[in-house]
Amino acid sequence: MIKDLLNVKRWEAFLDVLPTQYIPGFIMTLKVALAGLLLALVLGIIFGMFSSSKLNIFKFISRVYVEFFQNTPLVVQVFFYYACLPYLIGGRVPKFTLGVIGVGIYHGAYISEVIRTGIEAVPVGQFDAAYSQGFSYLQTMRYIILPQTMKMILPPLTNQALNLVKNTSVLAMVAGMDLMYYADSWGSDRGFFVQAYLPCALLYFLICFPLARLARYLEIRAKRTPVPKNKKEVA
């Protein structure tokens, strides 16, 4: 392992493929992660609000979505989109779309749960107070509940975002042209696995670490602000 690490010849071979394979793969992963995160957040907020709605039908829809996608493996879901969707829609699914809907829908279910618990953690009196001031349901959510929810759910939300970034690597299994795909491809081509996977891991780290630090910063900042003062600002 150590000798493998220090093999200059193999690192030179890696540098050769860095611009042609790793960088395009990195960009693909970044694009899929960002778009996937956006989709997951949108789905998470919609279904999270559904599940804390008073209407049973919304609750039911949200439960079905969450339970189904939370309790089936992401790999199966992505393979399904890849191998079965073309039969249903009669065409190829572009790899980018495949990745975005794959991680987006999967993590949307988790984020929905995060948001539901966040909303439920806000004291019910906050709803009552908002209604008494003439806020509609959506207005209550928008101005009163979700801002308070955001602070509480930041750590679990970060968790989901980081997992989403890492889970984009499942694309590699269906030739997704992402970072892991190229790393795996080059690694098995030359047999230089240390040089193939270590930089690959570092590149994922390069996306995740700043994201984690940013979330930590936001979390600390949120904690520093006294909650009652913030409530006044919002109201």
């Binding site: 392992m1 150590i2 000798k3 493998d4 093999n7 010849k9 890849y82 191998a83 079965c84 073309p86 039969y87 190829r92 299994m173 269906v174 030739a175 042209m177 795909y181 795996d184 491809s185 098995s188 081509d189 030359r190 047999g191 696995f193 240390v194």
Partner: protein, 307 residues
């Protein structure tokens, strides 16, 4: 609560230990490979000479250390394909392995254990393990298998990492398409997606072939881990072409597909062993050369219906 914590801790400790152990095994192996890697070029001649002496005496006197290790273990571990008809195929009825490369493995086992190939088969002196284009290299390196006889194409790059015997068969790459795709010739492939196997040489071969013919055909390539996923991708039309060695394609051709006329990237299959195991490589090469020179290889190819 206390008990729960203790058990969690123990579990974590056990897992860490397991990881550390496997980590050590892996690192020492790859360390060896690397050591051989850098010195191989410089010392190739000397190593070959010394081991050639020892292995030529196999059976009568001194035996190379790596070969002796196999004799001591009493079994030769060989990685073969399990899904390539005529070369390496697991009979779904009996579970037995069949094919040219299986027979070749028994020939080599016969030489190592000093008996005939038939006896080696009778005594089950070879244990077969299914490998794919991707797994065969690492399996050799970590000692999981002694030899890989799995439609393994010899390339200059691979020779830096593993030992290869004299080629026992020359194959070419083929292109398989769906009959209803409208593709009938290589000229139709511009802008299409060609699915190839991960860790294979198909992509380079295709590019060289079209360049040589002066065609302006620029398809995209997608790599898959294993032939079944390639076949599935072709069936779902996620790829337009399934392109691997013709020997392998034959096993996947059915009434919905057809193989185009084009043959390219003539390639030679060799028996691979770990780079350190020079003695074993020498012995294997002797067996293959003998089989070719005596004409036995031709008979074996004919027996399996391979052209």
């Amino acid at each position: 609560m206390k008990r729960f914590k203790t058990s969690t801790f123990l579990m974590a400790a056990a897992m860490t230990a397991a990881v550390a152990l496997t980590g050590c095994a892996g690192s020492s192996d790859s360390g060896n490979t690397k050591a051989a890697d850098t010195t191989a070029a410089a010392e190739a001649d000397t190593t070959a000479d010394t081991t050639a002496d020892s292995s030529s005496d196999t059976g009568s006197g001194e035996t190379a250390a790596d070969v002796q290790k196999i004799i001591d273990s009493g079994i030769l571990k060989v990685g073969t394909k399990i899904d390539v008809p005529k070369f390496g195929l697991q009979n779904t009825g009996t579970g037995e392995m069949e094919g040219l490369e299986i027979d070749l493995a028994y020939e080599i086992a016969g030489k190592i254990f000093d008996c005939t190939a038939a006896e080696a088969k009778e005594k089950k002196l070879v244990s077969f393990q299914g490998v794919t284009a991707k797994t065969r290299g690492p399996l050799l390196d970590n000692g999981e298998v002694d030899l890989v006889i799995a439609t393994y194409t010899i390339t200059p790059e691979r020779k830096e990492t593993w030992n290869f015997s004299t080629p026992y068969y020359t194959d070419a790459v083929g292109l398989m398409v769906l009959k209803d795709s409208g593709i009938t010739a290589i000229e139709d492939l511009d802008g299409k997606i060609i699915g190839v196997s991960q860790g294979s040489t198909t992509k380079e071969g295709f590019k060289a072939y079209v360049a040589e013919k002066g065609l302006n055909v620029n398809p995209d390539f997608e790599e898959f881990d294993g032939y079944p996923s390639l076949a599935a991708a072709l069936a779902a039309k996620n790829i337009d072409v399934f392109s691997v060695d013709r020997a392998i394609l034959a096993g996947y051709n059915d009434d919905t597909t057809m193989i185009l006329e084009d043959r390219f990237a003539e390639q030679e299959y060799g028996v691979a062993s770990k780079l350190d195991n020079k003695g074993l490589a020498e012995l294997v090469d002797g067996v293959v050369t003998d089989l070719i020179n005596s004409g036995t290889m031709d008979t074996m190819l004919k027996d399996w219906g391979i052209e």
